[in-house]
């Protein structure tokens, strides 16, 4: 089992103008990822860009692994050009993923934008009673909707521009949900991934309502496996490495 391995690109499917679904076939025996763990993906071997980029594994089958990515800058623009047959290096699975919810607790999953990539495999494994709130800027940017509907969970979607689903941001939907489900506060556990401002808002609501849970964070990374200390995040217990102790942290441990 290799944590540093080569894989062949079998498909790189554009889902919309910004997002692609990348499918890889590992050329070596690899380790199965836990939900929330990530991989460092080599975007170029030209040293410009120099560093690998971190991505969560959307899902893994015995034969292949899939990643969902958003084009943000130079590295992801190059990933959009990945062609079938191309061979790239990856490191992973890395980091600590989402802990399973304790028996009797209802997972409430909150995903913003590409945050769904991190939470998707967790959602697929959670019990049917789970609630999922998933938001994006526009209808076009809501991804994997058919698959999520099939997952059997109770799904609420929302868009910032009201083009689909409920109106508003995920943190507002979460707030409304808590108001209408007083009883769930004591028995729910939160799983959140998305842009930093969204996580900060969700963490504040969780704190005010005394709800426990987890958030997956992002930080610039050089190595991805704990060696460079470049990905520090400030927590109530001092700096921690997003790539090693994280990316998933107890949500109240983070100093936002």
């Amino acid at each position: 089992m290799n944590r540093y391995f080569k894989a062949e690109i079998t498909k790189n499917l554009p889902l919309n103008s910004k997002n692609n679904l990348l499918t890889l076939f590992p050329l070596e025996p690899v380790i199965d990822p836990e939900p929330g763990q990530f991989y460092m993906i080599e975007v170029s071997d030209s040293y410009n860009p120099l560093l690998k980029r971190p991505f969560c594994c959307l899902r893994k089958t015995p034969d292949n692994m899939q990643f969902l990515f958003t084009v943000r800058g130079k590295g992801t623009a190059l990933m959009k050009e990945f062609r079938k047959g191309q061979v790239i290096h990856l490191i992973g699975p890395l980091g600590s993923g989402y802990p399973e919810a304790r028996k009797g607790c209802t997972p409430v999953v909150i995903a913003g934008g590409t945050g769904i990539a991190s939470l998707f495999s967790f959602i697929e494994r959670t019990p049917d009673s789970s609630r999922v709130i998933y938001g994006a800027k526009t209808k076009d940017e809501l991804l994997m909707l058919d698959e999520l509907r099939k997952a059997g969970i109770r799904l609420t979607v929302c868009t910032d521009d009201c083009s689909f689903g409920e109106e508003g941001m995920v943190d507002q939907i979460f707030m409304n949900f808590l108001r209408s489900n007083e009883s769930i506060r004591t028995s729910c556990v939160l799983y959140a991934c998305g842009p930093r401002p969204m996580l900060r808002a969700v963490a504040a609501i969780a704190r005010d309502n005394n709800i426990k849970g987890y958030a997956s964070l992002e930080e610039n990374m050089a190595c991805g496996f704990g060696a460079c200390l470049g990905c520090a995040v400030n927590t109530v217990k001092g700096y921690k490495r997003v790539c090693k102790e994280g990316p998933v942290f107890p949500i109240q441990e983070i100093v936002w």
């Binding site: 560093l51 050089a222 496996f225 060696a227």
Partner: protein
């Protein structure tokens, strides 16, 4: 074929080391490389007291390089000796500890304690661009460097003493000579070069620390030049570091005059980089029909080309 090189009284099984701060305390790499294969493991810079480091963001990418301002986050001397050193000791590889002090007394204390603990080498970091006090102060002032090296030398009995010089001085050979004259067994060149990057959308510096140290292929030509200059000025070995990604880069440093090399940022791209370079050296020597890696050191024939041109 012989891949061994000598640094002071230390015999390394090959000239490939890790660069401080890029290899943690070895643990993170154990599943990628056989740590027994390395010439030496140089660990993250240690200070007397633990340091929590700088606020994030601590790193950002730049063309063919990266900036870092980690701020020397480390576990401190006590925990290093108790928790990290025993792990490293289990490997058949030389252990070199990079140290940084705020004051001369701190350097002396650190070096003395590590020497007593039996580490193979001590690398004086007088060139860290990311901490407010100490460090680079000693690396950019000739008198301070002379005094520091001499005092640390007195405190170190069996470990070899390496001085890691700052690339920010205009006259590297002079600083190299000072390190040699005051008892250093070797010199490491180069540490990162101070740099800065700005996000033009937000007008914010990309690092919370504002400035950071540049590493990676972008600095390699600077490092090769400094190794070349320094190795001609001193008799002690020069250890070359800066942008080494593969065996070809390592050979470039050795041809310039480096007795050994360190791999830093290259480990982040390919965690197996060190071992690939060692294997690459075997292959290179074999292909070239060279039986001893020492025959490469300083082999660049710059002068002869120059004189040919003049003739």
């Amino acid at each position: 074929m012989d891949l061994t090189v000598d640094i002071g009284h230390l015999k390394l099984k090959n000239p490939v080391m890790t660069a401080s701060g890029t290899f943690g305390y070895g643990e993170e790499y154990a599943e990628f490389v056989d740590l027994n294969m390395l010439g030496a493991i140089v660990v993250k810079g240690i200070t007397l007291k633990p340091l929590e480091g700088n606020p994030p963001p601590r790193i950002c990418e730049t063309p063919c390089g990266m900036l870092n301002a980690i701020g020397l986050q480390n576990v401190g001397l006590k925990r290093f000796l108790k928790e990290k050193l025993p792990y490293l000791r289990a490997f058949d590889s030389k252990i070199i500890v990079n140290v940084m002090g705020n004051t001369l007394q701190e350097y002396v204390k650190l070096a003395g304690a590590l020497d007593e603990a039996g580490v193979d080498g001590i690398e004086l970091n007088v060139s860290c661009p990311n901490v407010k006090k100490g460090g680079i102060m000693f690396g950019t002032d000739k008198k301070a460097l002379a005094n520091l090296t001499a005092k640390v030398r007195q405190a170190v009995r069996q470990s070899i003493l390496i001085t890691k010089l700052s690339p920010t001085v205009p006259d590297i050979p002079k600083f190299a000579v000072i390190a040699e004259e005051n008892g250093s067994d070797a010199i490491t060149l180069i540490n990162t070069i101070p740099g800065m990057a700005i996000d033009t959308r937000t007008w914010q510096p990309k690092l919370a620390n504002i400035t950071g140290g540049l590493s990676g292929p972008a600095i390699r030509p600077v490092a090769v030049r400094m190794v070349w200059e320094a190795s001609r000025a001193v008799k002690i070995p020069v250890i070359g570091v800066g942008g080494i990604m593969n065996v070809d880069d390592a050979l470039e440093f050795m041809l310039a005059g480096a007795t050994a090399v360190q791999v830093g940022t290259g480990n982040f791209l390919r965690p197996t980089a060190t071992v690939e370079i060692i294997n690459g050296l075997w292959t290179y020597l074999d292909k070239k029909g060279i039986s001893n890696v020492k025959d490469i050191i300083g082999g660049v024939n710059g002068e002869s080309i120059h004189s040919n041109l003049n003739n």
